[in-house]
């Protein structure tokens, strides 16, 4: 019997069973265990016994073996949306209803497959940069599965909706492609079982959401909002990466398995790791003070808003916290951080929702509040809270996505989403009205919706926690705000006399209400069928969050208790707020505006403007467009860099070569010196060119004297060509070169002396360095034997150091294009 249970647990909670056994025994207070664990024996068997013959049973015993066959399933799950995205410009050309079906085929299939238990408990391992020990690792445990089901399920509805929303517009193809890419990124992020895998997909969601939020790129506000979302979430992503890497450093590996085995809680870096990871989650999940990007992101087309901000992207922060909770939770630091951030966010989101007349912004603010509630519950760190989080994750997606999509349908048909201009839409858009009512029932937390059960569970968990006053209070206030928002969106625009903001509204096409209705209906059905949903979806996810196998059961009736009182009071307060909405909104908006002057968004803009101004000032200072100054800057910098090692070594090791000077050597040096002075002193163009040529020839002679025929040949050829180029440029020089001002003369002389002097010193230092000789000896020795060439210089250039040479010729080509472009562009400008 006992072994059967262990087997059953291992099958369904491979992760958790292993991780629990590694956790310190004193981790959880015995009281909580006593409440949850005793009934577990029977319930786990009852809940999962039925599924013994299901798809899970095939994976017994090899769940954590990198199995090829299993690996393929998960990799296909993550990779297929990207392929669908690439194919969507083609799919978009399919006419009529068939297009929506074709687009929805993949997410629907994945959804059904996941719901039926496909790939559950599997792991995939893909090599990436094996030398660095970096791999792609994916796992599908209960929590990942719940998220994957939401991503594919809501995703299927969203692509169908997109097909109707964009209609015949061609850019819908690109939008769909971005949606699919985003879907793949999300699936990768929630199944990642390795820090770097997680980070890659985490940032991919930021990038793809940037494309989605900024989709109406001709609108400056859309661009700004997209950039804001990108900046905030990628900054958080970097913080998260730093936190996870610190953790991995302590644990000695970057797979979650390894991370969870390390006892980080007693490590000195624990607070830093928690702080960084919470910062990453807070930016992604729009927690105060990073909440401002989310309402601004409503510049996105509605399908993207519904997808990103109900079921997916913003939940990724919550996912991260839930994922690491078993390993990082259970401390005061953790609980204090999450409960405080979450409480403030719940209240702020609920309050801000009352300040706007824009239906989408209103929904966005309630999303901020809902995310705050989830963060708060994860912070409470109890099995009851884990159960509430898992339930709320599902419930929230099932009511928020339909509400967003209903608002999108209103905007599509009436051209506005200004709530103060809309009423009586129920008569013209009955199907969308049904969606909105069901969604609002979820947001308000009414039975029989799953949201009601989730809210009750959350309030109970808060009541029983050590932080009861703050947590319970925040959730209750949030509940009132959500109820008010539900009435404002779910009833106000639909009741009363018909006002549609100017246009004659009619019902949206079926593709825009059928899917949302299905989702909202699923919210009700999930509530009614809660035993089934609890055991199949919520319990596995809650177990992953709690880090121990949990049995989950909900009930509509828990007796007369504080949660019920809070719900009733919240509904009453919400109703009242909605009735006096106009007055409430004006007051709330005034308060919000006043607070906003000090708010985080202001800091964001100050930072962005400051960065832009600094960049502009830097560019103006450095890119002045004066060639002689560029040259002077480069030379001065070069001389400075050459001076550094010499100054650093205090001139040690510098000595003149001991060799005797021969007469012809001195003659060549004199030639170079005289020619150089002549080139600098003359005001005559031809003489200057001749002098420069003489300097070059003299240098070539030096190379000949010191047995460097390659250099001599190259120097000679370069100089010949340089003289030809100078002759061509000859006509563009001033006829008589003007005398510079005395100050400029002095400056140029000082610069020239400095450059020449430091290069001389550097060469003396370099020739005194013995290491150079060893390298050249190795090259000389191997030139013929390994590269089959007797000319060492050339062999070094084209074989030993070929990569360097490739870099050099690339620079050369770039410089040529630059010169060509400068001359040609000037000509084109002059001709205008």
């Amino acid at each position: 019997m006992a072994s059967m249970r262990a087997q059953s647990l291992r099958r369904h909670y491979p992760d958790q069973v292993r991780r629990v056994s590694l956790r310190p025994a004193e981790r959880r207070p015995p009281r909580a265990l006593a409440i949850i664990v005793p009934p577990l024996r029977e319930r786990v068997k009852r809940c999962f016994g039925r599924r013994g013959g299901g798809p899970g049973s095939a994976t017994v015993g090899r769940v954590f073996q990198p199995d090829r066959e299993l690996a393929v399933e998960l990799i296909v799950l993550v990779g297929a949306p990207f392929v669908a995205g690439a194919a969507s410009p083609l799919l978009w050309r399919i006419p009529g209803v068939a297009r929506a079906s074709a687009l929805a085929a993949l997410p629907t299939a994945a959804f059904v497959w996941l719901l039926a238990g496909g790939a559950s408990g599997t792991r995939a391992d893909l090599p990436w940069a094996t030398e660095l020990g970096i791999r792609f690792v994916f796992e599908l445990d209960g929590l990942s599965r719940l998220f994957a089901i939401l991503i594919t399920g809501v995703g299927a509805v969203v692509v169908v909706y997109t097909s109707g929303y964009f209609g015949q517009r061609r850019d819908g193809a690109w939008f769909t492609a971005a949606i699919f890419a985003f879907m793949g990124s999300m699936l990768g992020a929630v199944t990642a079982a390795n820090v770097l895998t997680l980070y890659v997909f985490w940032e991919l969601t930021s990038l793809t959401s940037y494309a989605l939020i900024g989709f109406r790129h001709e609108d400056v506000r859309a661009r700004d909002s997209a950039l804001q979302a990108l900046f905030v979430t990628t900054a958080g992503g970097l913080a998260m990466l730093a936190g996870l890497v610190l953790w991995g450093h302590v644990a000695g590996g970057y797979d979650f398995d390894t991370l969870f085995e390390a006892d980080l809680r007693s490590h000195g870096w624990y607070p830093a790791v928690v702080g960084l990871i919470v910062a990453g989650a807070a930016t992604k999940s729009a927690q105060v003070p990073f909440h401002f990007w989310l309402p601004n992101a409503m510049a996105a087309p509605t399908p993207a808003s519904a997808y990103l901000h109900s079921a997916t992207m913003v939940k990724l922060g919550v996912y991260l916290l839930a994922r690491v909770a078993p390993a990082l939770g259970g401390t005061t630091v953790w609980t204090a951080a999450l409960v405080c951030v979450g409480s403030v966010t719940v209240v702020a989101g609920a309050f801000l929702a009352l300040t706007t007349i824009d239906a989408k912004r209103l929904l966005a603010f309630t999303t901020v509040g809902a995310l705050g509630a989830m963060v708060l519950l994860i912070g409470l760190d109890s099995p009851a809270a884990a159960k509430a989080v898992a339930a709320f994750l599902l419930a929230h997606a099932l009511y928020k996505a339909p509400l967003f999509l209903a608002v999108g349908a209103i905007e599509h048909e009436t051209g506005t989403r200004d709530l103060s201009k809309l009423s009586g839409l129920a008569r013209t858009m009955p199907a969308t009205f049904a969606v909105a009512v069901l969604g609002a029932a979820g947001m308000g937390g009414l039975p029989p919706m799953l949201a009601f059960l989730a809210k009750e569970a959350g309030l109970e968990a808060a009541r029983d926690s050590a932080w009861a006053q703050l947590a319970f209070g925040a959730l209750a206030v949030g509940g009132a705000g959500f109820a008010a928002a539900a009435v404002i969106v779910g009833i106000r625009p639909w009741a009363g006399p018909v006002r549609t903001g100017g246009t004659a509204a009619h019902e949206a096409p079926p593709s825009m209400w059928a899917g949302p209705l299905l989702l909202a209906g699923a919210g009700a059905a999930a509530g009614l069928l809660h035993p089934e949903v609890a055991s199949r979806l919520i319990a596995p996810a809650a177990s992953a969050i709690a880090g121990e196998p949990l049995a989950v059961r909900f009930g509509y009736w828990h007796g007369w208790n504080p949660p019920l009182a809070a719900t009733a009071a919240g509904l009453a307060a919400g109703g009242a707020l909605a009735v006096w909405w106009s007055e409430v909104r004006r007051t709330a908006a005034a308060v919000a505006g006043w607070v906003g002057t000090l708010g985080p968004e202001r800091w964001y803009w100050l930072w962005l403007d400051g960065t832009r101004r600094t960049a502009a000032a830097t560019a103006r200072t450095l890119q002045h467009g004066k060639l002689r100054w560029y040259l002077a800057t480069s030379l001065a910098a070069g001389a400075g860099l050459a001076a550094l090692p010499i100054i650093g070594a205090r001139g040690e090791g510098l000595r003149l070569p001991a060799a005797e000077w021969r007469a012809y050597e001195l003659a060549v040096c004199a030639l170079i010196g005289v020619a150089a002075v002549g080139a600098a002193a003359t005001r005559d163009r031809v003489f200057a060119i001749v002098c420069l040529g003489a300097v070059g020839l003299g240098t070539a002679l030096v190379y000949v004297i010191f047995s460097a025929p390659d250099l001599a040949l190259t120097q000679l050829l370069v100089d010949t060509l340089a003289v030809i180029v100078l002759v061509l440029a000859y006509y563009h020089f001033p006829r008589a070169l003007p005398w510079p001002r005395p100050g400029a003369l002095l400056r140029d002389a000082a610069l020239a002396t400095a450059v020449g002097g430091f290069v001389t010193l550097l060469l003396l230092g370099a020739s005194a360095e013995a290491a150079q000789e060893r390298v050249s000896a190795v090259f000389a020795e191997r030139s013929l034997s390994e590269a089959f060439g007797r000319n060492v210089v050339n062999v070094i250039l084209v074989d030993f150091r070929a990569l360097d040479t490739l870099g050099e010729v690339t620079v050369l080509a770039a410089a040529a294009l630059g010169v060509y472009g400068l001359l040609k562009l000037r000509r084109a400008r002059d001709e205008e």
Partner: protein, 141 residues
Amino acid sequence: MRTRASLILRTTIPALLPLFLVFSVFIFLRGHNEPGGGFSAGLVASAAFALMTVAFGPDAGRRALGLQPQVYLGAGILLSGASLLMPLAAGKPMGEGMWTTLSLLGREVKVGTPLAFDLGVLLVVVGTASGIVFALAEERD
């Protein structure tokens, strides 16, 4: 150009051009064992096209070059890059020299990826120098 180039230049350059190019090939090929190589060979060839430009103007220079200088740049970088990547296809580390012996006119000639690499360098040098020379010569007075 404001003035016509000297008669000497205009008479000798057309005759010298093939010589320059043959000399360029010579320097290129001997670079493996003696002073020379792609860079020097490219400079010699460029000097030929530059002198052509001085004598007859940029159009004549361009005609002698055949293709646009940018084409030489791109082709050179591609050739050099490809010659470095080629060993990867044979399972060797990038940039490792691969040699084979061809029989040419009854003589054994060694050919390898470094030769292709050097040819790429030559093309880039020709493209760079000619591009700058033509652009300068086409400047309006």
